[in-house]
Amino acid sequence: MIEWFVDLMLSPDEYGRPLLTTAFLSVVFSASRGILTAGFVIALGLLITAIIESSDNRFSATIIRVFVDALESVPSFIWVLAAISAIGKGGFAVVTAVFAVATLPLVLGFLGDVIKTIMGQQYVFAALSMGQGRWRVFCRHVLPNTLLECWPLFFYLSGSAIAIYGAVGIFGFVNRSEMDLGVMLLRGKEMAAVDLTILVVSIICYLVLFIVMKWIHVISKKGR
């Protein structure tokens, strides 16, 4: 059984690369892209929320509500598909930019609620009444506490980003030899009639990735 598994993992794919290495690197690259994208979106969301906090909340809340409705009315991978179609490239920057736009309303809504709750705490009022600047209080106290609440959102976004990159791969907008779980799935699906190995391996990779992220999520929860 072990020998069979080792043989399978070391067997070359259609490009002559060992399946194990390809699968491992695909998981690493997909996860890295997902995590980087989620970090970028949350950072952008925090910046915009900070700006909104210092402006008229009612107006910005209405605008955000309308955009949330519109963006949530269409699956985010269709926005990405439309953007890639228009631009003609499925690169990291393009997908990240469109993904950020598509998920920003959700992030802004979440962060807005969290920040509003923290800003309503007694110690914030105390700090403000003691003469501390609003920005200073925001950066020194509100922001660190907000970041703690961002973990679930971060995991949700990184999972979504991994899925979106996978979708772009499945749509065939990227090079077939690229190390990506989506591309692996596409190749696996195309070769399924002859050999199910790549399809099965790529689904297992997604499962492993899910379990690892879920584990980190649970650990981070316990840590808090």
């Binding site: 699956p75 598909l81 997604y206």
Partner: protein
């Protein structure tokens, strides 16, 4: 202002913004976007082309007017987009999946109650499901439909739509069961249930109130059901090359067929917005805790 009028305004606002976003994304973003993203090959020409597109508002209003009059123009093959869109909708599993889901969701709502007996299992499952939607496009679809891969490839007699329709209905139903179970458990912990117990009301009466409150919580997220279903359906159609809205979108995307892409996106936005409005209407009608001044919207 009446609830219906507010619902209508919100629906129109959503569709208008969705159309504007689609138009901007497909019609205006390319040159500007490429330049902004630092793709140097087009940076020089981008500004010139963007300046030439300064009739953007006029172009947008023209597109909106054509949408309103249902004159969607022709696709790159010269076929009217109305026909392409209608054919893709009738070919796809969308009508079948929506009707199947409607029936299954009603069953799932009732299935959620006995599941309370398996509360720990349901809680674990719901936690999994709240995490899983992020993986829906590339993992769940392939795990479900991939298992039925051989059937999808077997023939072209329409069995593909059946398989995809059924698999696309699984996720919304799981979502319903999970939401209902969580909602009932959540409601059971609220002080008013303890008050009802203390007042000596029978269990069945209390459960009746709790069920109603849980159902209202479900109405709040009913649009998510449609979103999940559309995502799974469209993605499955693309992955398994089954004719329908997914393949039409992919073809239009690969050929940058603006005339087809924008109406397709608006169609999906209308469908999901309508579901959202339905959910809000149900909340407004059934929830006694909501004020009648429309502030719930």
């Amino acid at each position: 202002m009446s609830t219906l009028a507010l619902l209508g305004i919100r629906f129109l606002g959503t569709v208008i913004v969705a159309h504007w976003l689609a138009y901007f994304l497909v019609g205006a973003l390319p040159d500007l976007g490429l330049a902004m993203l630092g793709i140097s090959a087009v940076q020089e020409g981008a500004l010139t082309e963007f300046t030439a597109k300064m009739d953007l508002p006029a172009g947008y209003f023209d597109s909106a007017s054509r949408m309103l009059h249902l004159k969607l123009g022709q696709n790159l093959d010269g076929v009217p987009v109305n026909d392409v869109l209608w054919a893709s909708i009738t070919d796809s599993a969308i009508p079948f999946a929506i009707s199947l889901s409607a029936v299954l969701i009603v069953i799932s709502v009732f299935a959620a109650f006995p599941q309370l007996l398996l509360n720990p299992v349901v809680e674990a499952g719901s936690e999994f499901l709240t995490f899983v939607p992020a993986y829906v496009p590339s993992f769940i679809v392939l795990a479900v439909t991939g298992a039925l891969n051989w059937i999808v490839y077997s023939d072209g007699t329409g069995v593909e739509s059946l398989i995809i329709g059924v698999s696309a209905s699984i996720m919304p139903c799981a979502f319903v069961v999970s939401t209902m179970s969580n909602a009932i458990v959540g409601e059971m912990r609220l002080p008013y249930v303890r008050t009802l117990h203390a007042l000596g009301l029978s269990k069945s009466t209390i459960l009746k109130n709790v069920k109603k409150a849980a159902l209202i919580r479900l109405f709040h997220v009913i649009d998510k059901l449609m979103l999940i279903q559309m995502t799974v359906l469209i993605f499955s159609e693309i992955v398994f090359s089954v004719s329908g809205v997914g393949t039409m979108l992919l073809l239009a995307g690969q050929r940058t067929d603006v005339n087809t892409l924008i109406p397709s996106i608006v169609f999906i936005a209308i469908l999901i917005s309508l579901t959202r409005m339905l959910g809000m209407l149900l909340v407004a009608v059934t929830d006694p805790r909501q004020p009648n001044d429309g502030s719930v919207l």
